[in-house]
């Protein structure tokens, strides 16, 4: 992983096609809200399928909490769209099928030389893409649990929303 991708660093404003084929940027997708950026291997990986199902369970909280998710893999948009629909996910998936950012970010899965996917990595970031936390999911238990994400998003939101302490 690139040495700048640590808490306090900043994710580049990646520009990639979404699951509909429309080019999007991370800052556009954040729209001023806290963002979970998830790099995943691909639809075929059973670990990803399990992790994705967990994230789907969190989306009902995120959708009322002004919090965005973005998932990124090397799958083509049409595959992402089908995977997303099958999961019942309601957030944006981005396709880096050309692996434009893999080397820049240092997030190539070196043990899979067939698909050359992203190494599973999750960032929790502020709307300006400043990194709050990073999770290396090469080993499954390195991934954030929904409780980890909930605590990160609470911390980001507390800092972001000037009226967090209203009433106290």
């Amino acid at each position: 992983m690139h040495p700048d991708l640590v808490p306090g660093g900043r994710l580049p404003d990646l520009e990639l096609p979404d699951h509909s084929g429309i080019t999007r940027t991370l800052t556009e997708l954040a729209e001023g809200d806290p963002l979970v950026v998830q790099f995943f291997r691909g639809w075929w990986c059973p670990k990803e399928q399990s992790a994705m199902r967990a994230l789907v369970r969190l989306q009902s909280e995120a959708e009322v909490a002004y919090t965005r998710f973005v998932s990124i893999s090397i799958d083509e948009p049409v595959a992402l769209s089908a995977f997303r629909a099958g999961l019942g996910a309601r957030w944006t998936f981005l396709s880096d099928s050309e692996r434009r950012y893999q080397e820049q970010l240092g997030l190539r899965e070196t043990t899979d030389t067939l698909y050359r996917p992203y190494v599973p990595t999750v960032f929790t970031v502020y709307p300006d893409l400043r990194i709050h936390n990073v999770y290396n999911g090469y080993w499954y238990w390195g991934r954030p649990s929904n409780e980890d994400l909930r605590q990160d998003l609470r911390a980001i939101t507390r800092e972001l929303r000037s009226d967090w302490a209203v009433g106290s």
Partner: protein, 170 residues
């Protein structure tokens, strides 16, 4: 500007509009003019607020699904029927643009869903999730009013300080 005024009017009432375009029903009969105005003084009494990104004076003709909800029948945005429709829009097939309408801080006043993609527009719009709340009108809208806006990033369904969904920002 995150929102603008919207109304269906006759030709005499579009002065000061950002953009307007004639609309026709499936039988080709006139359905009036769809018009959008800047977010200043309310242009006509029945105008509602919508996401301003939908308006594009250079936009091509499109099919729309228009849901208009009378003030005395407007459900809360927090009504599960409305929340369910927002979720269905986020997980469904892509539209060229979508916006809800608002009159106040808490009630759903309708929606405008735009499609002009690949010849399946009417099929997509006939599945308009907002039409489960109140009946929708399918209309052909001429060029000069409606743009193309990327689908709303998810999974947020809450609105920001009474803004029309999916307009973002507090």
């Amino acid at each position: 500007m995150s929102w603008c005024w919207f109304a269906v009017v006759d030709e005499a009432k579009v002065s000061g509009a950002l953009a307007s375009a004639a609309a026709y029903d499936l039988d080709g009969r006139s359905a009036g003019l769809l018009a959008a105005w800047p977010s200043s003084r309310k242009p006509v009494p029945h105008a509602v607020r919508m996401d301003a990104r939908v308006v594009d004076a250079e936009g091509a003709a499109a099919w729309v699904s228009l849901v208009e909800v009378a003030a005395d029948r407007a459900p809360l945005f927090d009504d599960p029927a409305v929340s369910g429709a927002l979720r269905a829009v986020l997980s469904g097939r892509r539209l060229d643009a979508v916006t809800t309408f608002v009159r106040d801080s808490s009630r759903f006043a309708g929606s405008l869903s735009v499609s002009r993609t690949d010849g399946t527009e009417l099929g997509v719009l006939r599945d308009d999730p907002f039409a489960r709340i109140r009946p929708a009108r399918l209309l052909r809208v001429e060029a000069g009013l409606l743009g193309s806006v990327p689908p709303p990033p998810g999974p947020v369904i809450q609105r920001y300080a009474g803004q029309p969904w999916p307009a973002a920002g507090f």
